[in-house]
Amino acid sequence: MNIRGISATRIILWLVAITIVSFVIGFGILALAGGFPPSADHPLTPFRNNALLTPNTTIIPLDGATSGDVRLTLGAGDLTLQGGAPDAALMEATVFTEAGIWQPNLALGANASQKSVVITEKGHAGKAWFAVDSPNRWEIRLSDTIPIRLDENVGAGDNTLSLGTLNLETLAVHTGAGDTTVDLSGYHGGRFDGTIKTGVGDLTLRIPRTSNTRIQVHQGIGDITENGFIRHDDTFVTPGFNTSIAVNQITLNQGVGSITLETV
């Protein structure tokens, strides 16, 4: 074998050299990045524990409960929450993450006719070039049939809630850094009070035009865009707002970022 005067031996020697040098440099960088010595968290492999995102679905049954208390804490990652849990289930939670050690903690409780679920993931540190932060995505489906108290925290990441089919008692949304969308389109559940707090990021809130809702906004830096609301200073109400009937009260606290309020 002779390619344009370069002997096969020379080609093979070059390939061997490139292979050895590449692996040496690769493992050297891993060592500098803290990948060595190997441990339970960092096995001797250049790949992540579970390279591809692995879904892990958990279904929390209602067990006869007539109301639910759901508390979610996601340190870093994207969270999508909506209705449509299977029949007789309070929640269907699907967690897409890389490593078993980053699977969130799950705590269940029952109090009289109320079932409570607490899912917590404390987050983890990334190292820029040397180790990009872990992909971490939660997809949560809640029951459409029972009243739910929802308290949801996302440290860093996008937070998307489609709550139109739910029946809320209270709503608390906290996003540290990232975009937040709370969509209550088509909401026909009971009256509720809500607080939405965001640190840095844009917030979009969609409210049914006929929902008799009042929104109190406390904003740091950013614009407010509204569509279909009646504005009184920092208060926005839906058309035909009437305090003599049940009022949905929502308080917005925004640090930095734009706010978009829409009636649908």
Binding site: I11, I18, P46, R48, K127, F130, V132
Partner: protein
């Protein structure tokens, strides 16, 4: 039961026709006729000569095997090698163990090395692209503990894959040569011209 020399030669010819070139076949038949002629001149009976030569079917099988092995040696190709192995298998049932099994094992070995080589060669660049996308901050592609290290590992994996493919080529050539020698030795043992080591 063979009756005459002519019948022996006829059977031998019928078994070898279509396999050997006409001139080579003529030479072989001429050699056997000469063998009979010399034997008779020395006062040996035809029956005795038949016994010493073996049946024309067995002789034809040995000649076919030798011919195909020589052909595979002079003209290297998978087809010629398969013909040589097929002809050698015809020499005896035990060659299923002594020829076919080693041949299958070697083919599987070469195939596995080749497949690994191709997989590494293809996986390396793909993993390198993942490392670049990971550096760009696209989390879905974060397969590396360290994306910078991932680029070097990708390069190493690619070149290692190429080495496997190239190594597989040389390994195949080596096994081809060794295989031909083994087939020759095998035929020699069966013909009784070579002792088992």
């Amino acid at each position: 039961m063979l009756q005459t020399e002519a019948e022996y030669i006829r059977i031998l010819k019928s078994r070898l026709e279509g396999t050997l070139p006409a001139d080579e076949l003529a030479d072989i038949l001429s050699d056997y006729s000469e063998h009979f002629r010399m034997g008779k001149a020395n006062g040996r009976l035809e029956e005795e000569l038949f016994r010493s030569l073996g049946s024309p079917e067995d002789v034809a099988r040995e000649i076919r095997a030798t011919h195909f092995v020589n052909k595979a040696e002079s003209n290297k190709s998978c087809g010629n090698l398969l013909h040589a192995i097929g002809a050698t298998l015809g020499l005896g049932l035990f060659n299923l163990v002594f020829v076919l099994v080693p041949f299958i094992l070697l083919v599987v070995l070469l195939l596995v090395v080749f497949i690994f080589g191709i997989v590494f060669t293809v996986f390396g660049p793909a993993a390198g692209i993942y490392a670049i996308l990971q550096i760009l901050g696209i989390p879905a592609f974060a397969i590396w503990q360290s994306p910078l290290a991932g680029i070097f590992f990708s390069l190493g994996i690619t070149t290692f894959g190429l080495l496997l493919v190239i190594g597989d080529y040389f390994l195949a050539r080596f096994f081809y040569r060794v295989g031909i020698r083994y087939l020759k030795w095998n035929i020699g043992v069966i013909k009784g011209t070579e002792c088992v080591a």
